[in-house]
Symmetry: C2
Subunit: 401 residues, 2 copies
């Protein structure tokens, strides 16, 4: 009898990334001696650029092994503010930057800073599942808004967002360059969202994890819209652009009043972020950007290869997004053709028959009522072109058989 193991009530509201369940199934299938084509995880199979690795080692040799200030070493806060301002057109100073052990900590720290129990928080569905988990875990009420498919790709449902606002809405989470759909706000969308935030006095988390993972065009940040700088915290991460996922390094960037609270949360939660990793990040920002461009070039080739093959599969339609390393193809017809009723049936059959491992719409939130089309999500960050080709050709033969 384990009567003593009385968990806190909030634990029942704690979610996970169900993509890890997909990863476990793939690992089990591989352990049985099968080949797996991994399209399920947003990790990179490209290693971190050499100059960044060398900078970490140099810092280690220089004894950068003790604590740093809670919000990070001053040089990195300053350099990141400079770099961020350059790409966004903002005017943040080092005092607006709190270094974090990853981008993810910004989600929970932001919510703990601004959300009271019972507050309604708008979050994207489909979307990164940690938003909903953390809102509910810390006592907020998650209210979904959605991303819709139209002729040109996916766009934010601004009208739906507007209708979801009540007198209890306090917080809005925006993930522009959106996981899983790669949707991107138009200039009109950014203005509309900012106007809503100002009109309803919302505090805003702007998750820009994929801001720099971009192949064509230029990313714009909603933080530059009127009234947004004072009410928003931007989630910044080194993970994707610099292939540094496993280093765990990111930052919260925003108004001083919020960053000071987030800094106090750093004191409470982990003291500081790894010392020598912060020196490596300085090199990432200041050093030669050739390797970064190479990473993007390789990802772009993968994107094109994936999109071309997917669109060549009968019953599959896939847009070619300009950013992120995710594809969100419509597989409604292919599922009908094969007689699959559920995503589980589809994913299991695809894994067993082709070795292709991928996520589905439902890994990014519970499908909303009225949602008729079926989608899967493929990440091409963790798989090379040769395996992309083999895997997706196997997928084609299976779905068309």
């Amino acid at each position: 009898m384990v009567t003593h193991l009385r968990l806190a009530n909030r634990v029942a509201r704690l979610g996970v990334e169900t993509a890890f369940v997909v990863a476990s199934k793939a690992a089990a299938f591989e352990a049985e001696g099968n080949t797996v084509y991994p399209f399920h995880l947003g990790d990179l199979n490209l290693t971190t650029p050499e100059n960044i690795i060398d900078a970490a080692y140099a810092a280690l040799r220089k004894g950068k092994t003790g604590y740093t200030p809670n919000t990070g070493i001053p040089q990195l806060r300053e350099m990141l503010a400079y770099d961020f301002n350059k790409s966004r057109g903002t005017n943040f100073g080092p005092e607006n930057v709190a270094i974090q052990p990853g981008g993810k900590p910004v989600i929970s720290k932001f919510l703990l800073t601004v959300m009271n129990p019972g507050d309604e928080v708008l979050y994207p569905n489909p979307g990164f599942p940690i938003y909903e988990s953390q809102i509910a875990f810390h006592g907020g009420i998650p209210v979904a808004y959605t991303i819709v498919q139209n002729d040109d790709g996916f766009t934010f449902d601004i009208e739906g967002l507007k209708k979801s606002i009540t007198d209890k809405t306090r917080v809005l989470i925006v993930n522009d360059l959106h996981n899983p759909t790669s949707a991107e706000c138009s200039e009109a969308d950014r203005k509309a969202i900012a106007e809503l935030a100002v009109a309803h006095n919302l505090l805003v988390l702007i998750d820009e994890a994929y801001f720099d993972v971009r192949y064509e065009g230029v990313s714009s940040s909603i933080v530059t819209e009127p009234g947004m700088r004072e009410r928003s915290v931007v989630l910044y991460t080194f993970s994707k652009k610099f292939a540094m996922t496993g280093w765990r390094l990111g930052a919260a960037i925003g108004p001083l009043e919020l960053i000071e609270v987030i800094g106090k949360l750093n004191v409470n939660d982990e003291s500081c972020t790894n010392h020598f990793v912060q020196y490596a990040a300085l090199e990432a920002l200041e050093g030669d950007q050739k390797a970064v461009r190479l990473i993007l070039a390789r990802l772009q080739k993968r994107r094109d290869l994936c999109v071309d093959i997917l669109n060549d599969i009968r019953g599959v339609h896939c847009f070619r997004p300009n950013a992120t390393f995710y594809l969100y193809p419509d597989v409604t017809v292919a599922m009908e053709n094969k007689g699959f009723q559920t995503y589980d049936e589809l994913l299991d059959a695809v894994l067993r028959n082709t070795g292709v491992s991928m996520c589905a719409r439902e890994h990014f939130g519970t499908p909303l009522s009225g949602e008729l089309r079926k989608h899967v999500r493929l990440a091409y960050s963790g798989i090379g072109r040769k395996d992309i080709e083999t895997g997706l050709m196997r997928l084609k033969y299976f779905l068309e058989a």
Copy 2:
């Protein structure tokens, strides 16, 4: 007007380590061109052993730069369970270990896992200030128990602890080998605390950050007392023993049901701990322990030097603890001799007149009613013997003048 910056109510209950205020004052004094003798922070001025640094670099070169499983790489979980069992006499497996970015995250994650709003949580005062901060921040009611000075050193006030238990008490935090007093549970204390925990069905956080920072005798863990393994999570850290404070690496070790929830919190809060740092930790546990012994030997010499000089100061009395790198001398008479009414007066005058920077009792919680003696805390982890001697001799001349 910043009406939009409406912070969550819990922010008003968020504390910090006020030792950082001491650190700021010391830094400001140093910036004016003065010499500072830093006794205020529990950081180490000894760098991490070379073999650990080299293992981190080797892992970086091998491409260990992507995500790891949320609770850590399997090899490290297994090796840490093995090493922990060896020193504690427990029987934990890898599934009982969740790697963390430091020891500190275990505090908030444990409380979020087991504490409901309104639950009373027993914590040590004087004690590490983050306990009280995190209990209150997440809606619990912090209830202090204390550590008392007697002829042989400092001991846990078991009778006081017993009297503090009510029908709302749900959680107990024990920091054996205690910061700031270096108090250590006797076998009788461990049994008494375990009996209380079992009798009142408490869940227990056992903070053993200083378990291996020990010069004489052998550390024993309260987790081995009857009934404790099933209801306790142990906070483990690599920071102190291996001089790895800035690496941010620790672990939560405990029963599967709690570790699984803590693993889900890892997914939510930071995905995982730095990948190559986990390989360095493997080397720390498995590799040559010569450098670790050298660290301890150096700390022991510092301890003896500090204690000898402190006891040579008129109006100061200091015990010689067997573990931790903190001293908690009684300065009641010295303060009376100098006419200092408050700790602020004492610390400011000492810093300005001698350059010695240290913490006082009140940096470890609000002094309890009935507390008559005055104490300061000196950490000797971040200052070499030459500076210890100069600094404390200056302190002696000042306090005796």
